[in-house]
Amino acid sequence: MSRVSRERRPTGTSVSASTRRRVGLVVLAVVPLAFLVLFFAWPVLAIIARGFGEGGVSDMLARAQTWQLVGFTLGQAAAATALAVLAGLPLAYVTARLAVPGRGLLRVLVTVPFVLPTVVVGLAFRALFGDGSLAAIVLANAFFNVAVVVRTVGGLWSHLDRRAEDAARALGASRWRAFTSVTLPALRPALGSAAAVVFLFCATSFGVVLVIGGARYRTLETEIYLRTVNLLDLPGAAALSLLQLAAVVAALAVGAAARRRREGALALRSSAETTRPPTGGDWVVLAAAGAVLVGLLVPLVAVVLRSLTTSSGFGLDGYRALTGGGEGGVLRISVVEAALNSVRAAADATVLAMVLGGLAAVVLARTRRAGATQLLDTLMMLPLGVSAVTVGFGYLVTLSALPSGLRDSPVLVPFVQALVITPLVIRIVLPVLRSVDDRLRQAAATLGAGPVRVWLAVDLPMSARSLVTAAGFGFVIALGEFGATSFLVRPETMTLPVAISRLISRPGELNAVAAYAACTMLLVVTALVVAVVERIRVRSDTVGEF
């Protein structure tokens, strides 16, 4: 009944309550939207405006070099996406369908790369492949995003009713046929959604490409950065941002379409009902998953090993150097101070993102007009796809218009980080809020609970675990945010990822070891947070993306 009544809203005229709730929702929506306009739309639009100026879009489009850049960007993103999907599928199957010991640990290990700071991932692959390797770029981007595939596809897979597959088997299909003809089509929305998101991340990947590719391999994203910082070619950078924006909007539209289909008529089951012990061909999949897992672990181990390797054998020199500002005074503050800056900024960003994302999720879950929901959803997702560099660059362009107090204030860093993680918060919390049966709220209302108390008594407790998940993931991603932050930090407020990139880009053996040591620290913190969040999630068995 609730399903029916959600889709077919009564169109009566005499209800003031519905007017009141509409006004309430609009008021709630205003806060995140205002933030979005001020700290996202304005900077990005400023970039777009510049892109149409002289030496802008028309100039850049005429250059063969631009199209090479576009080609390379899309090509490496496509390759990395394909790789991530292929590597992610066996892991998704194992985590979703097989009752094997250590699935919780497996999920933690798979998730860690996704929330790792890009700089760490870049350095990890540099430690393995050396500088300037194309294979390293593709592998690193794929490495980063395997978790997206495992979580999005595995999330749906674990809730798919297994009996459809059983029916196919009973009708004479082999396991492989049953998979390709029944399960795979059912997974297609999740696969499409995951692939679109991964492609987006790979195409706008910044830290990884910058650290590994250096000057040799450039994507649109790193080119924007280099043009801004090194060449001071603002119109050119703006034009490239514009180009990238177009690609991003297209990819987001594909992803949104896939998500819509996902929320359609799939028979979902509790995941506890869908796992079975492995048999026969499952062992092959398990072996493949094991191989992927080793591939995911190697770069992490390499970072740790490299942090312990000094010119005179193994040692803790790198860790000792963390209390200093690097060899030759590369940094104005010590690495430890940078780490503290990071924690402070990330904590502020998390609080801000929880408020903004929470409000947006509530509005999205409760709005009954499909059109308004879609519009708001897409708007709130935009920062996820628009390159952090474009946003950071936009801040630089619009900063001059801000009052000087705000322009130089360190609050801008948490603001831009909040912008990056708010979409994530929404994607984690929204599916849970949407899965709450509306009749539970109605039951609470008939028992005397007003709208606010309904929310406190039903929505809040039922989404509590997803809120913790969102806060945990949001925090570690803010901690590792590099692209936009690197535009905004000043030497005294430098964050850890920025400090790491400065250290690695300067000569000196000690700087390199210190950078790896700092990476190890980030790695450990990230892994710990993910492990805690995973424990909470596993117990709750919620339906969510990521």
Binding site: M1, S5, R8, R9, P10, T11, G12, T13, S14, V15, S16, A17, S18, D437, R439, L440, Q442, A443, A444, A445, T446, L447, G448, A449, G450, R453, V454, A457, V458, P461, M462
Partner: protein
């Protein structure tokens, strides 16, 4: 202390789910809204609760229009088909919810929770998690939860439909007892006439968004207002008859009808239980009885249902005890059971 609904219309886009419905439930009365799925009965109930927007008409309590009263201020309890218990609360936490919203203090809440769990047969269940309860237990908790704040009116939306048959029959009796004991005024939506007759003292039969008949259970069963109501209540075939002095004469023989049926033309609604068969080769019976040929037979829980072809009438459903069931193809004699025949205006 009465619910009155006047000219109530609920619209989903172009579709009128509820069309200009009038009804009232007196203090302490239990009214069942009975009808096939999609007839608008649940929508009507939800509109009374304040959960659906009303396009036209009024829902009043004691003559006061509730249009401006939001759901949580109506003090109407609601029980859904599948409980909809709060999964993160214990049994006691669920039952006490309405009392907490009303600001009752802890001692009052605990006492009332214990009292209600006793009433629904779940004494001592306070600390259980609701996810560990069976469907029947969950429905009992849902009932206790709705009754705890002493609602002015209890709304039950298919309260037993999600349960197994055995459980349903038992819970229906328990539910009727609880409603009587507490003197609760209630509106219950159901598609099952047994359930409606067990629970309610008045039955409103709905179809296509309209109420076709409101009467006591027995009258609805025996004197359906029109063909649609008769068919919904199991009369698969209607035959014409003429009443004289309390007897109806039809091609299927003579049958006694209730005394208030006036002389003249009527239609008899035949449900399986109204048509009894005896084997044609056995003695007894009179020459005015009709006969037919058995086409099919289906064994049911406590009788055998037959499909019989009767000349001039067509196929008629009939029932017979297990002992001496006629074979398919056998000729049988038919008699009408006056307690199960429905009488409609001609």
């Amino acid at each position: 202390m009465t619910l009155t609904v006047r000219g109530l219309t609920v619209r989903y886009g172009e579709v009128l789910a509820v069309r200009s419905v009038d009804l009232s439930v007196p203090d302490g009365g239990v009214l069942a809204l009975l009808g096939p799925s999609g007839c608008g009965k649940s929508t009507l109930l939800r509109a009374v609760a304040g959960l659906e927007a009303v396009a036209r008409g009024r829902v009043c309590w004691d003559g006061v229009d509730l249009a401006g009263t939001p759901v949580h201020r109506r003090a109407f309890g609601l029980v859904f088909q599948d409980g909809q218990l709060f999964p993160h609360r214990t049994v006691a936490g669920n039952v006490a919810f309405g009392l907490r919203m009303a600001g009752a203090d802890r001692a009052v809440r605990d006492a009332r929770v214990a009292e209600l769990l006793e009433l629904v047969g779940l004494a001592g269940y306070e600390r259980r998690r609701v996810t560990q309860l069976s469907g029947g237990e969950q429905q009992r908790v849902a009932l206790a939860r709705a009754l705890a704040p002493r609602p002015r009116l209890l709304l039950l939306d298919e309260p037993l439909s999600a349960l197994d048959r055995e459980l349903r029959d038992q819970l229906a009796v328990d539910l009727a007892r609880v409603l009587t004991e507490t003197g609760t005024t209630a509106l219950v939506v159901t598609h099952d006439h047994d359930e409606a007759f067990t629970l309610a003292d008045q039955v409103a039969v709905m179809s296509e968004g309209q109420i076709r008949q409101v009467d006591g259970p027995e009258r609805v069963w025996r004197r359906p207002a029109d063909e649609r109501v008769a068919r919904f209540l199991g009369c698969s075939r209607l035959v014409s008859a003429t009443v004289r002095d309390g007897w109806a004469e039809s091609v299927l023989g003579r049958v006694r009808v209730p005394g208030d049926v006036p002389d003249g033309a009527v239609r008899l609604g035949l449900r399986a239980s109204a048509v009894r068969v005896t084997r044609a080769d056995r003695g007894g019976g009179t020459d005015v009885e009709a006969s037919g040929e058995v086409l099919r037979r289906v064994h049911q829980r406590d009788h055998v249902r037959l499909l019989v072809r009767v000349a001039d009438v067509g196929e008629v459903q009939a029932s017979t005890p297990f002992a001496g069931v006629p074979e398919v193809g056998e000729r049988v004699r038919l008699t009408l059971d006056p307690d199960a025949v429905a009488v409609l205006a001609g």
